[in-house]
Symmetry: C2
Subunit: 282 residues, 2 copies
């Protein structure tokens, strides 16, 4: 459902700016895990909402996530040549079109969110837009990427590493989960439990990401591995060691499951996502 | 009023991402003409709305305009070293932070728009967000910048040049004017007249921009001039000649004034802006 909806979010390449649409589609429709859209939908369903209520948010968040990958891979940023097993966007389309494709995915995401949410509660949609922009912007994801870039080669305390990741990846996870739940009609108490779930899940995701960079292969991951160490980036395995990091990930997963104790069978997808995030191999 | 509001739109530099906030403030608070915010406010007032109803849109549009200048100036794009009389963002903060500052201004703009519009009609605000994202995204400004980049060194027909500029600059002008009017409570007939005004004004702005690049000095303009010719960019003076272009700008100004004939004294600022756009020296 998400794949089909995403394919509708970027026009078919045509006209004088066809190359831009091609570049947008290249990165958006490349078979990512779609973890953030699925979280938005699962959170919506966990509170008894219909999938359709969260589908616009799901697509918008994946577009924003995709833009961030395109810009992060640019030579002036992390300078990555591969992403999801294929050459990164700028290796195919050049730096200028890659920058523009990222800009366009980010901008179009807000149009998609409004258009695909027609029929929902306008105040809830406005709050979701505001929260999404906050999570993706200077106080969230972009702020986290800034801290990440400026921390290279520096020793970080574990608290600083957590601040970095809560902004760089955690904020967008939380926006997916909170937004999906809000659009599904969540009650205030449900929101609180889902906040806890989101915080633990985001952290678990990052710890496992760091572990996979140490232990994974480029073949399985579809991107260069062992780059964190080469760049002098602070990671959980570097600070805590591999064994302690793996334990931490499992403990976070158990915490995420505990946060959902007040929910019934409708939250089963959220529980399985927490398990997947910790057990995944890519 | 716009300057004071913009200064509130980006947090004071603090914490680990302070450099990002500095870079955002450097370009946002640099004394631009604020033409788009003033258009949003003037359109709101022209239909009898209160200034405050359009102030969030005014700030959001200036943030989006500023991000586009930062990204356009990057080495991989137009590679401009000066902007508004000062070194461009990436010359001061480096390409990575400049890219992120642009990303953050674009993203935060949508949060600002929602937050500062509290109290307005939620459906009207949602429509304004959708239209703004459409005007700034792949089908608007970013699409226009793509066509601009891909047309360098090529001969463009006047129709292609108009398509380029209607996307690259016209769409955001129109979003400012239409959005300001909508948030001010415009009637459908007023919207139609303002659409015509916006189209003529946007085109006039671009013709004069091209003329200033030929005739202006770097000192007066605060940026490098005569770059269009050096880059083989299609311009109105190149296609029509200087005299014919100046005539065209004056004719567009008269057309913009005619489009406002149904409005009274409340539209006087919009009329004066059309005159300013054609008579300006920078």
């Amino acid at each position: 459902m998400v794949e089909a909806a995403l394919a509708q979010c970027v026009p078919e390449p045509a006209g004088a700016a066809a190359r831009l649409n091609e570049a947008m589609r290249y990165s958006l429709l490349d078979g990512g895990k779609r973890l953030r859209p699925i979280l938005a939908i699962a959170a919506c369903e966990a509170v008894g909402g219909r999938v359709e209520a969260a589908l616009g948010l799901a697509c918008a968040i994946e577009m924003i996530h995709t833009y961030s990958l395109i810009h992060d891979d640019l030579p002036c940023m992390d300078d990555d040549d591969f992403r999801r097993g294929r050459p990164s966007n700028h290796k195919v389309y050049g730096d200028a079109i890659a920058t523009l494709a990222g800009d366009a995915l980010l901008t179009d995401a807000f149009k998609v969110l409004v258009r695909m949410s027609a029929g929902g509660s306008p105040p809830a949609i406005l709050e979701t837009i505001s929260e999404l922009a906050g999570a993706a912007g200077s106080a969230g994801m972009v702020g986290g990427q800034t801290i990440d870039l400026m921390s290279e080669g520096k020793d970080l305390a574990i608290e600083q590493l957590e601040e970095l990741h809560s902004k760089k990846t955690g904020a967008l996870f939380a926006a997916a989960i909170r937004g999906g739940a809000r659009l599904g009609g969540a009650a205030a108490l449900q929101m609180e439990s889902l906040d806890a779930y989101a915080r633990l899940l985001g952290l678990a995701f990052q710890v496992v990401d760091d572990l996979l960079d140490v232990e994974g292969s480029q073949e399985a991951m579809g991107k260069q591995v062992r780059k964190d160490e080469a760049r002098g980036k602070a990671t959980y395995p570097a600070i805590l060691g591999v064994e302690r990091s793996r334990e931490m990930a499992r403990e976070l997963q158990r915490g995420a499951h505990r946060a959902l104790e007040g929910f019934g069978a409708d939250a089963e997808p959220l529980r399985r996502i927490a398990t997947f995030v910790v057990e995944r191999k890519l």
